[in-house]
Symmetry: C2
Subunit: 294 residues, 2 copies
């Protein structure tokens, strides 16, 4: 089922749309001092919740927000119960963790009291096409800055993604490919990427720029190994992208997408890609192990 | 007078702490899709409001938030009236502009309805020392990323400043100096910088990284010229910093500060600086034209 009603919880307590919650002094709003996770809900469970909370933990450490993973796990479980009570069993659970009150100066307060907000939304539009069609993508002009301490983290500073995503308004493209300031392919606006060359599969490093996606780690650690397909993590140049034989995008909500064509910044065809046997194998394996991505 | 009570307005309407305002789906919180200005209030006026609103306008254009400057000017004036009604005549008025509702995906909604929040705070602690003493500063390890489309803008993505500011917790330092990924001196954590060499004054470009400060523009366009002191905008290397004869920091709330000593990342002295005649002249001129910085 889909719903247009909003559901929220704050630190495990259900809150209503109209309930007072003053976020005007929250460091999340003031500075983007916080993190988020968008978690796929399937049959009233969150199958990849542990991977999401692991990343949240690493991010919290990087941006100096003390959190307790088991507490957040409990808040999320309580929110699932809240949704179950509303007969909602699938969709997206978003968890935002902010550094809490303290918007007067960049220095963190001596004691940070993190806020954990859970919210619910329906599955995104276009999810079936993403999973079942060869999708069209394009280059983004906006470059991801090199920022080692913040790379990999799903933090609340997302202007780079916003600028990139707003480069196109037509419905022709499912995704945009983002490059770093140094010219390397890094990721899609809302997902990670795998590139098949003549003799191997590659995925970009995300230790200088980009997000370390939950689906990326699943593919790296489980799906590629389970298929017996070697995959290497390394910087990927424009030349390598031009020589690619297959491109895969992934996103922990939408799953896995095969790229059919890549357009450049001017919407001119850069490359079209044939159906790839290994890609089909990877998708089958993913669905076998994680049927929520069917 | 100082106050610990909070004052806010939303789109020109006063709101109370306890009034419901759902920011959980606001793009400001979700992605930092917004801007802010902290404006010095002096005798119930905002002497530099036009410079702040000009920058806000440029930023809104850069991050794709349609705003009307005269409308925001009106909101700010209404907020000043609100504060006057509470007998508050000095302090800081902070204006946050967000891209409004729409936290489900990076793509901006077809129609953005910007939210304009005004809030009040007391003058920051240490402001007298900043204006009247030679202050101590230190290097920050965290580097500012190169990001031309977002450089200069006072947007809500401030994790770089947070990481830099949290590098020290002791009270020995008033400010931290930030360098870019490319190794150039860019700014202080909360202000801009002017460097006196043997034969000229320099201030860093902020077209690749950093914030184009309101006080920086005032110094560039009015104060240096009024003193007949040439000032050049150019990239500044660590060598040039090492050879500097005087360093000035500025911030539109705190005013102008002369740097007495610079420590490196390990809190070891990098450089101490003598009192400088031209610096005194610049400060006198600033106070003459803008007595709020007395």
């Amino acid at each position: 089922m889909t719903t247009s009603k909003s559901y929220y919880s704050l630190n495990g307590q259900p809150i209503a749309d109209s309930l007072p919650l003053n976020l005007l002094d929250d460091r999340g709003l003031s500075y983007g001092h916080g993190l988020f996770e968008s978690i796929l809900m399937h049959q009233s469970t969150l199958p990849l919740v542990n991977r999401h909370l692991d990343r949240l933990n690493r991010g919290a450490n990087a941006v100096g927000i003390p959190i307790k993973s088991d507490l957040i796990y409990n808040y999320v479980q309580l929110f699932l119960e809240q949704l179950k009570g509303e007969s909602i069993s699938q969709g997206v659970v978003k968890v935002i963790v902010t550094a809490g009150v303290g918007g007067r100066g960049y220095k963190s307060p001596d004691t940070i009291e993190a806020r954990v907000v859970c919210s619910y939304s329906n599955l995104p539009k276009g999810i079936e096409d993403y999973r079942n069609q060869a999708i069209n993508v394009r280059f983004c002009k906006h470059r991801l800055p090199i920022n080692q301490p913040l790379a990999g983290i799903k933090h609340l500073n997302r202007l780079d993604q916003i600028l990139a995503r707003n480069e196109w308004t037509c419905d022709n493209y499912h995704e945009g490919l983002m490059f770093s300031e140094s010219g390397h392919l890094i990721e899609a606006v809302s997902g990670n990427i795998f590139v098949k060359l003549a003799d191997c599969w590659l995925t970009p490093c995300v230790d200088q720029a980009g997000v370390s996606g939950v689906m990326r780690s699943l593919m790296l650690e489980e799906i590629f190994p389970a298929c017996g397909i070697p995959l290497y993590v390394k910087p990927i140049s424009m030349c390598e992208l031009a020589e690619s034989q297959s491109l895969l995008l992934c996103n922990s909500i939408k799953g896995l997408a095969e790229v059919g064509s890549v357009d450049n910044h001017d919407n001119q065809l850069f490359k079209s890609l044939p159906i790839d046997e290994q890609t089909l194998m990877l998708r089958r394996k993913l669905i076998e192990l994680y049927p929520q991505y069917q």
